[in-house]
C-alpha cells in the first residue's frame, strides 16, 4: 500500500472493511473508482448514503424496508399465524424467492455464536417474544442455518418457547449440515419447508 497516495490508501482501507473483500480486491475496486467518471462515482456514493438514511427495519419482522412496515407484513393474504424465523435478511430473500412460504417472517439479525461473544442479548429475540405474546401465533418455523450456530439458535428458541402453546418446527435439513440458506437452491428450500419437523 506504501506506493499509493494518501486518499487512495484511505479508500482501499475503507473498502477492505467490506465482507469478503481482501486488500487486493480493495485495491482493484479503488482503481476502478479512480478511473470511473465523476458522475458514476457520485451515484455510487449517493446510493450508499441513501440506503443508510432511508432503510430501516420493519416494525414487525425487522426486515429492512423503506416503510414502517414491510410489504410482507402488509400483505393480508399471507398467513398471519405462522412465523418463519431466519438469521439474516438474505435468508428471508432466499425463502421468498423459493415461493414455498406464505406466512410472515422474523429476522433475528444474527445467530448464537459463543466464540464471537454473540449471545441471546445480541439477537432480536425479545421482539419475537413480544409478537408471540401479543398475537395469535399458531406455528413458529425455525429456519436458522443448518450449522452449529444456527442449530444452537434453534435449540435456544425452542427452550424459550417451550411453555407456550405453539407448534414449533425446524426446516428439514436435507440441507446439509454446515450450510447456509442463502447458498441453497430454491427447490431444496421449498422441500425443506415442506418437510419441516417438530422440535
Amino acid at each position: 500500500m506504501k506506493a499509493y497516495a494518501q486518499p487512495i490508501k484511505r479508500l482501499i482501507s475503507e473498502l477492505a472493511k467490506l465482507p469478503g473483500i481482501g486488500e487486493k480486491t480493495a485495491a482493484r475496486l479503488a482503481n476502478y473508482i479512480l478511473r470511473a467518471t465523476e458522475d458514476d462515482v457520485c451515484k455510487l456514493a449517493e446510493s450508499m448514503v441513501e440506503v443508510k438514511r432511508k432503510i430501516k427495519l420493519c416494525r414487525i419482522c425487522l426486515n429492512p424496508t423503506e416503510e414502517d412496515i414491510c410489504y410482507i407484513c402488509h400483505d393480508k393474504t399471507r398467513d398471519q399465524e405462522v412465523i418463519c424465523v431466519v438469521e439474516e435478511p438474505d435468508a428471508l430473500a432466499a425463502i421468498e424467492e423459493s415461493g414455498g412460504f406464505r406466512g410472515l417472517y422474523h429476522v433475528l439479525h444474527g445467530a448464537l455464536a459463543p466464540l464471537d461473544g454473540i449471545g441471546p442479548d445480541n439477537l432480536r429475540l425479545s421482539e419475537l417474544l413480544l409478537r408471540i405474546n401479543n398475537g395469535h401465533i399458531r406455528e413458529i418455523i425455525i429456519a436458522t442455518n443448518p450449522n452449529v450456530h444456527g442449530e444452537a439458535t434453534a435449540l435456544l428458541i425452542t427452550r424459550m418457547l417451550k411453555e407456550k402453546d405453539i407448534k414449533l418446527t425446524r426446516i428439514a435439513t436435507g440441507v446439509p449440515m454446515g450450510g447456509d440458506l442463502k447458498y441453497i437452491d430454491k427447490m431444496t428450500i421449498s422441500k425443506s419447508l415442506e418437510f419441516r419437523r417438530g422440535m
Binding site: 487486493k24 459463543p114 466464540l115 461473544g117 435449540l155 446439509p176 454446515g178
Partner: protein, 257 residues
C-alpha cells in the same frame, strides 16, 4: 528453493475466519503440531472438497502442506472423524464444548505441540457427549488445562506460610499471586469472599481423578459457586481478558436453562 512438506494429523476445529471471497482461515488444535492455522482455498463455495467440515469442535483428519513451520498451512483435505452430534443436539452441551475449545485456543501458543492438551479435549468432548452436563466437569477441565498450559494455581497449601490445606479452615484466593492463603495470612477485607477447605479439596481431587468418575461428582450450589469464582477469576487474570464463550454460556443459563 525449499519444497513444501506434506503432513497429516488429527485435529479439532477451533474456529474459522472468512478470508476474501471464497477462502477460510481455520484454526485447529492438532495432535502432532499443537495449534495450527491454515488456509482452506475455496472452502466457502466448494461443496465437494470441504463439505461442512470446518464446524467448531469437530474432530477431523487433515492433510496440509507448508513451506516452513512459521508459514500459514495450506489445507489440502479435511475429513470428519467425529461431529459430536450428541453435543450439537443439546444447547448447553454445545455452549460448554465451545467454551472448552475457546479456552484451549487462548492457552495455546501457535506451533507448540502438546499431545496431552489434545487428549484432554478429546476426553472431555467424549464425556460431554455421553453424560449429563455438570459444573464439576467444566471446573475439572479448567484445572487440567491450566496445569497442562503451565498456569496451575497453588491450592494444596497457603502460599504465604506453606501450611497444607486442613479441614475446617477458611481460605482466600489471590489471582495475582496464583494461589490460596489461609485466613491467618490473608488479612481479608470485609468484602473478600472466603472459600471452604471442601472447595479447595474438590478441585485438587478433580485435576487427577479418573475421567470415568467425573460423572459421579455432583457439586453443591455453594461449592459450585466458590470453585467457579476461583477458576474464572484466575483464568480472567492470566488471560487479562474475559472469555467470550463463557459469558454467552452464563447468559443463556440465566435465560432458559
Amino acid at each position: 528453493m525449499t519444497g513444501r512438506e506434506t503432513h497429516k494429523t488429527k485435529a479439532f476445529v477451533l474456529h474459522c475466519l472468512n478470508y476474501g471471497e471464497a477462502d477460510l482461515i481455520v484454526t485447529f488444535y492438532s495432535s502432532d503440531f499443537g495449534k495450527l492455522k491454515g488456509i482452506a482455498k475455496g472452502a466457502k463455495n466448494s461443496k465437494k472438497r470441504f463439505a461442512n467440515v470446518f464446524e467448531p469442535f469437530s474432530l477431523t483428519s487433515i492433510i496440509f502442506t507448508r513451506k516452513s513451520r512459521d508459514m500459514l498451512a495450506f489445507i489440502d483435505s479435511c475429513e470428519i472423524i467425529d461431529h459430536y452430534d450428541a453435543i450439537r443436539h443439546d444447547l448447553e452441551k454445545t455452549l460448554i464444548a465451545s467454551y472448552f475449545i475457546d479456552l484451549v485456543d487462548h492457552f495455546s501458543p501457535e506451533g507448540k505441540k502438546n499431545e496431552k492438551i489434545f487428549e484432554l479435549l478429546n476426553n472431555f468432548l467424549t464425556l460431554l457427549g455421553q453424560e449429563k452436563t455438570s459444573d464439576a466437569a467444566v471446573r475439572f477441565f479448567e484445572m487440567r488445562l491450566l496445569r497442562l498450559a503451565g498456569f496451575e494455581p497453588t491450592l494444596d497449601h497457603c502460599i504465604t506460610c506453606k501450611t497444607p490445606v486442613a479441614n475446617g479452615t477458611a481460605y482466600y484466593f489471590y489471582a495475582q499471586e496464583g494461589g490460596i492463603k489461609c485466613a491467618g495470612c490473608a488479612k481479608p477485607e470485609r468484602y473478600d469472599q472466603s472459600i471452604s477447605a471442601g472447595t479447595v479439596r474438590t478441585l485438587l481431587l478433580g485435576k487427577d481423578m479418573d475421567i470415568d468418575k467425573i460423572k459421579l461428582i455432583n457439586l453443591s450450589n455453594s461449592l459450585a459457586a466458590e470453585s467457579r469464582n476461583i477458576l474464572i477469576g484466575f483464568i480472567t487474570h492470566v488471560l487479562s481478558r474475559e472469555v467470550k464463550s463463557l459469558k454467552v454460556l452464563e447468559q443463556v443459563r440465566k435465560l432458559c436453562l
